[in-house]
Amino acid sequence: MTDHSIAHGVFTIERTYPDVAPQRVFDAFATAAGKQAWFFGPGDWQIAQREFDFRPGGRERVKGRRSSGDESFFDAVYFDIVPGERIVYAYDMWHEGRKLSVSLATLEFHAVAGGTRLRLCEQGAFLDGYDDAGRREHGTIELMDRMETTLRA
């Protein structure tokens, strides 16, 4: 790629999980077994390799593969962990050996009446405008499918 560029993006998602304490929600992020149950990619994406070292300075690496054979790679470093309250990590995201983005993610776990409010914020630098143009159509349709699932939930 000869053109180098950066686009910045930020988004925040808030969810409230009823009947569970912040520590419980935190634990689902803090152990490999806990995370395995829900932290994975779209469609038929499968974990090919996972490394999980949950402590400040520790690393999490997840290599995923789809049945079509394409590979993605998530490489994160934990920067700040306050048990039951907060997790801060930075990660880069690879697809087919190309670096897509570098992001900072923060997770906050707040006790609210009857449950836990989770606040996730991601700030990212999207590198070199790399977007798998050949799959844009596929990506759009997949996006629709996912939105549908999300909105029905």
């Binding site: 988004f11 419980r24 806990g34 149950a37 977007d131």
Partner: protein
């Protein structure tokens, strides 16, 4: 409203999502676009207007036929990036919710 808000608003409706899916396969006329839906042409135009306002879809009248097409450039790369990360996270957090409901006391041993 930001483009992203308009995009999400446009996609919050199943008819409009079906229209986008149809257009992702290629351009077509408004009547072709309307064909699978049991609704009046004015109603179809209203949906089309929202899709155009979001920038996802563009249309052009040539002679008596209005042709619609996806406008992939409208979703800037940064928005595509955010949308993908966000939809990934929305799906994960749904699964996390189901997981927490199943194991409220702690991770299964």
């Amino acid at each position: 409203m930001s483009n992203l808000d308009l995009t999400f608003q446009a996609l919050a409706d199943p008819t409009r999502r079906a229209m986008v899916e149809r257009l992702a396969k290629g351009s077509c006329s408004v009547s072709e676009l309307a064909q699978p839906f049991a609704m009046s042409l004015p109603a179809v135009y209203q949906h089309l207007q929202m899709l155009e306002a979001s920038g996802l879809v563009a249309s052009e009248k040539i002679g008596r036929v209005r042709t619609c097409r996806m406008e992939p450039a409208a979703m800037s790369l940064a928005e595509t990036w955010i949308n993908r990360r966000r939809t990934d996270w929305e799906a994960r957090l749904d699964r996390l919710g189901a997981h927490l409901q199943r194991f409220p006391e702690g991770e299964p041993k």
